[in-house]
Symmetry: C2
Amino acid sequence: MDAIDTMTSERFRHALSRLGAAVNVITTAGPAGRHGMTASAVCSVTDSPPTVLVCMNRRSGSHQRFRDNGTLCVNVLAGHHQALSTRFATPAEAAARFDYDHWTELVTGAPVLADASAALDCRISQVSDVGTHSVFFCEVVGVSLAAQAGGLVWFDRAYHALGTG
Amino acid sequence: MDAIDTMTSERFRHALSRLGAAVNVITTAGPAGRHGMTASAVCSVTDSPPTVLVCMNRRSGSHQRFRDNGTLCVNVLAGHHQALSTRFATPAEAAARFDYDHWTELVTGAPVLADASAALDCRISQVSDVGTHSVFFCEVVGVSLAAQAGGLVWFDRAYHALGTG
């Protein structure tokens, strides 16, 4: 083990690259318009009430749209969704992001990826600001599940497919 | 896709089982004593200042010890750490948890697993309560990295080893 005595951003990011995380496309719809982006900073919080959280940079153009709409759907990606993940992370393709794949909706109207491994349709219930980011606490009001449990994980700066979906 | 119209805890947990998450042992030391537990509800927040978050049930015995100590180390596990993960999740083994493996420390004094894929040694900087849980925002003050990038992910209610460590 290389012990590192001083913290730098680079070393912090290197350590975080070891913290595997599910890849999701988070979406919203409402008065601020339809929008979606790839996000791995998503975490379960409690099942009473059913709540997940999503971290988002306040300086991103997306942040205010989610905040204004108050709706957020976490579409958990499966192994075959790598191109979709890249498309929703590429600014140049922002206008055409929803022109591919099959999108539907559940309760809030936020876009739901029809073949997502799981989709958690939420209303944003609370926001905490921490440094440069906001943490959206999202109460889950609708769920869909694919027949197969597939997963796509970002680990060591690469995609890893899990499961069978 | 099976669309589910109504939210239940069971369906929520089923959806969350599709959200792959890194397995970690989080530790603390200080006036409230040394303690550790397995946790997957860990998420990166921002690198300015370097911050991660950890969600914890307020009714657990662990919660108050982390809160009182104000220190928290996220030990990111590798593929060969499954027995360690199970030991730190088994209440009956609480007294002997630290009797195995090699433990060291970095800055805060919280136990650091010597062969963790990565360890993020933190001071708890902010706490938000959401439903039954507290979210600890933890400023990272020390980092260690194993030579190899290994990962252990909990997905579809099973362990999955990633990488080479």
